[in-house]
């Protein structure tokens, strides 16, 4: 109970401080650079220009400071630290990077990450598109979409518990309580410890992320499909195009922008995927991925900040193309305005 109270206090203080800051600084600004007026409120000298050249900074400064502190500074710092040793007090040049390209686990994570990048965005996007198309043709489509969308609200850890239960393994002869093994044994197969089968276990982990991300893809696709003009489709049909042709030749080009957006968004999620691997296998049985390996090196066994930072930098470098693409897309949009 006490904690709820202190939480409430903290919220009031935090929010209050913010309100005070914005109102206070604006009030000070208005007072300090008030227009000079005569007693009968006739303007002698307007200071609006000065006020309005300062005010934007009051508006953006808190945000800029936080961004600088929480994203820009750490990014630079991490990059620098990646050239230092475990405790961060001795410059080692490219040593950490050299070590990485000779380290089996690092190469394995790179391989797995590539696998994730190839499979998860593709499957999620494709499934999302299929579901969007299907659901638009059914009266209960909205409900169906809601159910498929729901996993988006579930945390990766929560999803891991849910799926651990699906992949649960009991030795042969005992009753299986995991759905997957129950299915396999009822079809006459052998129960498998799914998460320990190298290579395939990667796929089983990916399924969890696909389960979460498909809803996202579906929602965007669904909206984009609605944007395809009905007349275009009708015209194509009259021209004798079949549905497959319409789908690939008309719908896809129309929504290709959205497809790319979905693809890149999921790609970023995949690059950062950490919780699922940590909670399901912790990188054992050849399922290591970069983000988990980074966490491991940062904090396990005494912590190695140099190598941890190096791995974070590698993830960062992998995101840069997407970052550039995002900015260019944004500029193109701005130009259209």
């Amino acid at each position: 109970m006490q904690q709820i109270l202190s939480g409430v206090y903290a919220i009031i203080i935090g929010v209050g401080a913010m309100v005070l800051f914005y109102f206070g600084t604006n009030w000070v600004l208005d007072k300090a650079f008030a227009d000079e007026m005569t007693a009968d409120r006739r303007m002698i000298k307007s200071r609006e220009k000065i006020r309005e050249s300062i005010r934007p900074w009051i508006f953006v400064l808190p945000a800029l400071l936080l961004l600088l502190l929480y994203l820009v500074y750490p990014a630079i710092q991490t990059f620098i630290l990646s050239f230092f040793n475990a405790t961060g007090n001795e410059f080692v040049g490219l040593h950490n990077y050299e070590w990485a390209i000779n380290d089996g686990e690092f190469l394995q994570s790179i391989g797995n990450n590539i696998l994730w990048l190839l499979i998860v965005p593709f499957v999620s996007t494709a499934l999302g598109l299929v579901i969007a198309v299907l659901a638009d043709r059914v009266r209960w489509g909205t409900l169906a979409k809601s159910m498929i969308f729901m996993p988006m609200a579930i945390s990766f850890v929560g999803a891991s518990v849910i799926w651990k239960f699906i992949y649960d393994y009991r030795p042969e002869g005992q009753a299986q309580i995991g759905v997957l093994n129950a299915l396999v044994t009822s079809l006459g197969g052998q129960p498998q410890a799914w998460l320990t089968i190298p290579f395939w276990n990667n796929i089983f982990l990916m399924i969890i992320l696909i389960w979460i991300q498909t809803g996202f893809a579906m929602v965007l696709m669904s909206a984009a499909l609605r944007g395809v003009p009905e007349e275009t489709l009708e015209a194509a049909r009259i021209d004798g195009a079949n549905e497959v042709q319409i789908f690939f030749n008309i719908m896809i080009p129309q929504i290709i922008g959205t497809i790319l957006v979905v693809w890149t968004t999921i790609t970023i999620v995949v690059l950062k995927v950490f919780d699922i691997v940590l909670a399901m296998t912790n990188g054992q049985w050849d399922t290591e991925v970069l983000a988990n390996l980074m966490y491991d090196w940062m904090f396990r066994g005494g912590g190695d900040f140099g190598r941890g930072s190096m791995l974070a930098t590698v993830i960062m470098i992998a995101v840069i193309p997407i970052m550039i693409w995002n900015i260019r897309r944004f500029r193109a949009e701005e130009a259209q305005r």
């Binding site: 903290a10 750490p74 991490t78 729901m150 579930i154 945390s155």
Partner: protein, 409 residues
Amino acid sequence: MTTKAQTMAGAADKAASGTSSFNLSLGWWITRISLALIVIAWTIPTFGLFISSLRDKDQLAITGWWTALQTSVGTEQGRTGEADAQVETNGQYVLTGSIFGEGSTKSIRTYGGGFLPSSGTVEYGQGEQPGIRDYAPGELVTLEDGSTFVLESNGTYTYTSPTPFDFDRGRRFFMETQIPPTFTLANYQEIFRAESVDQSFINTFTVVIPATIIPIAIAAFASYAFTWMEFPGRRFLFYIVVALIVVPLQMALIPLLRLYNTVGLSKGYPGIWLAHTGFGLPLAIYLLRNYIGSLPRELIESAKIDGASHFQIFTRLVLPLSVPALASFAIFQFLWVWNDLLVALVFLGKTPDQIVLTSKLRELLGSRADNWEILTSSAFVSIIVPVLVFFALQRYFVRGLLAGSVKGG
């Protein structure tokens, strides 16, 4: 895409309405069935978790949740009371009691083995406890020394002997028991009582609420400035914001830890609020700018002409108009913070007053790995709030997603 075959034929030959309607209904069915299958596949995992969290923990451990409505059969050992509990009546020494604890719903199917002689009538295969199916409940077993033993299906037994019993501990036998389907809230009581999941629940709220409100306010001001105010470097600074949307927050961890260490912010709620604010800001500014930018320019202009300052325009005009966009981002941030594990692991401790639900759940995944009753019910507690928020406010969430991604597409 299952509908293609149908419409292909339909479009190619509209006149041949006979085959077309056949194909149409086939396609109709295929669409519905495949969508239904996908929906089922998508909901089963969560549904299974929910059902499991309500099951009796003994049943949960031995049978799948889809058998929740059936009686499950288990094997266990039973033990008579100790010899000093015997009572002498009419020259007979009698030991009575119940195998099961108070309030048990189990019943006995068969029993035997252990100290009981083999009936010799049942064959046992490998992986079976020898003797376990020798006797039916209520059947009187006569032992070599002339004593008799009978076990009723409710677990009460009577062990009678002409000579005094003399053993240190209760004698062991085996039995097949059945447990009727039971649903219970005991698992939830257990996690609140013994695992203090309730405390984590409150901790999560303590993190989530400020970490949702603070970035909204800061981002709203900033995005207004980015849209309607003139200042040098506006464009460049906004490009940086767009670029920062995709920065993996992993890279912020070590430098921030060191920074927090020097300013003494670490392992506390203010530290994590600020961290979530910082990490959430780029997307917040981007989303809100898209929305605020779509407000009609004339609105702002006319307010300016009326002599309102930007501050007044923002607080009295733009902010109220932007509520839907604020709500969209609020849901985003709420879900993100609620579900976050990494930031909580690094910026909050594991003490009872700081450990959040996701972190707690991970501890349980390790420490109670095979206590499914604990895992399922804790997982359910951790997902119920975001799922409720999600279903209630799905409209805003979708709107936010669209604004954040396909804007202008």
